[in-house]
């Protein structure tokens, strides 16, 4: 019995992460879910939120995603997301830039749902801004 998961995190333009992990927290459409080894086959749509990759007990990676898909089967997890933003490794400038961009989009946006999505994104970014 393996105690690790094979995890692939891909976007259309690149492969963001690929390797063995202890577990993954995903923002599934109907509530956050934690995927651990030996999880039942499961496929879900994702909403805007944070994907947390647990590499070891103390080491985590965090990504903000704009929604996407997760496919979990036999200790092989594939996560597809069009846009992602690294919440751990990004520099202050990157944070400033993306928060600014979102603030501008919020002003421009006329659609209430879109606005709400952008606000959630902004909140997550600000919470992780350090």
């Amino acid at each position: 019995m393996s105690s690790k998961l094979n995890f692939d995190f891909v976007s259309p333009m690149s492969s963001i992460f690929s390797g063995e992990v202890d577990g993954i927290l995903i923002p599934a459409k109907e509530g956050d879910a934690e995927i651990l080894p030996q999880h039942a086959p499961f496929m879900t749509a994702l909403r805007i939120g944070v994907v947390e990759i647990k590499l070891t007990d103390s080491e985590n990676l965090k990504f903000l995603i704009d929604g996407g898909f997760a496919d979990i089967a036999l200790d092989q997890v594939t996560l597809l997301a069009e846009r992602s933003f690294d919440l751990v490794k990004s520099s202050k400038e990157d944070f400033d830039k993306i928060i600014n961009d979102i603030a501008k989009d919020i002003e421009k946006s006329e659609d209430d749902r879109e606005k709400e999505d952008l606000l959630i994104k902004k909140e997550i970014l600000e919470a992780n801004y350090s």
Partner: protein, 294 residues
């Protein structure tokens, strides 16, 4: 025989052309490497998406409630063809071969009495198709200002296609582009986008087929989200393949041009030397016969 000055000018003009083609060849080579990397990084995403879709659509086959994007709307009267070409020329037969394939299909569809609509990506495609099929073109995308073609551009095209589909403007959608096989070979291909082509997505691995999945939300909702995404991803992939193919084609074309230019320079130099020699000889003969006459 052409006079010497003319020949000299020809040689210098050919060699400056050669310099240009050589430079273009080198630029294409370095851009090709990046484009190739882009294609390769985009492949896992579209492959995985294809796998997921394949799994999902298997559970829908033969059912009536399958989404229209997956199964089509049951008609095949109106066809939308998306033809992806390059923005710049001087890349050999790259654009013509894509357009040729598309033209064949257009004429065939017209013969069958179907309605044809065209969306063109790229300036070159517009130039090649506007004269014959200007009436059918409903939209033209010009990405010549965009430096790196990416997901944003693909999404723009996909959104347009989706809204046209929802309005019932077409029944079947196909995409034409050149698949990048190697630097030497780029194959124009036609890919069916709507309805989703299950056959072409079948991979050799079949190990994941028998897993009983849990879906959240249910299959139908997931499909509803996945199919539009798949459309953008397929278009993105086509755009990236096209970019790589364009540079590949340009590399080969410019390599040929450079070689032709150096052949031409060799020929011209020989002619130049011969005619110079001939004029020297004739001058000498004139002097000698002049001296003899005295």
């Amino acid at each position: 025989m052409a006079n010497l000055k003319e020949l000299r000018n020809r040689i210098s003009s050919v060699s400056s052309t050669q310099k240009i083609t050589k430079a273009m060849q080198m630029v294409a080579a370095s851009k090709l490497r990046r484009a190739q990397e882009n294609v390769e990084t985009a492949r896992p995403y579209s492959d995985k998406l294809g796998d997921i879709l394949k799994n999902l659509s298997a559970s829908f086959s033969g059912q009536d409630n399958a989404p229209e994007l997956l199964a089509g709307n049951g008609n095949d009267k109106s066809h939308l063809l998306i033809i992806a070409t390059s923005e710049r020329g001087l890349c050999g037969g790259f654009n013509t071969s894509i357009v040729k394939l598309a033209k064949e299909h257009i004429l065939q569809l017209k013969e069958e009495g179907k309605e044809v609509k065209l969306i063109i990506i790229g300036k070159k495609g517009k130039e090649l198709l506007q004269r014959d099929f200007g009436q059918e073109i409903i939209d033209i995308y010009d990405f010549s200002e965009v430096k790196d073609l990416g997901f944003i551009e693909a999404e723009k095209v996909a959104e347009n296609i989706l809204s046209l589909f929802e309005e019932g403007k077409f029944d079947i959608c196909r995409l034409y582009f050149a698949k990048f096989e190697s630097v030497l070979s780029q194959v124009p291909v036609c890919q069916k986008l709507i309805p989703f082509d299950i056959e072409s997505e079948v991979n050799e691995e079949k190990d994941i087929e028998n897993i009983c999945y849990e879906y959240e939300p249910d299959e139908e909702d997931i499909l509803k989200e996945l199919l539009p995404k798949n459309l953008s991803v397929q278009i993105l992939r086509a755009l990236l393949e096209n970019v790589a193919s364009e540079f590949g084609a340009r590399l080969t074309a410019m390599d040929n041009a450079t070689r032709n230019a150096s052949d031409m320079i060799d020929d011209l130099t020989i002619t130049y030397n011969r005619s110079r020699q001939a004029s020297i000889t004739s001058e000498l003969i004139e002097i000698i016969s002049g001296a003899e006459a005295l």
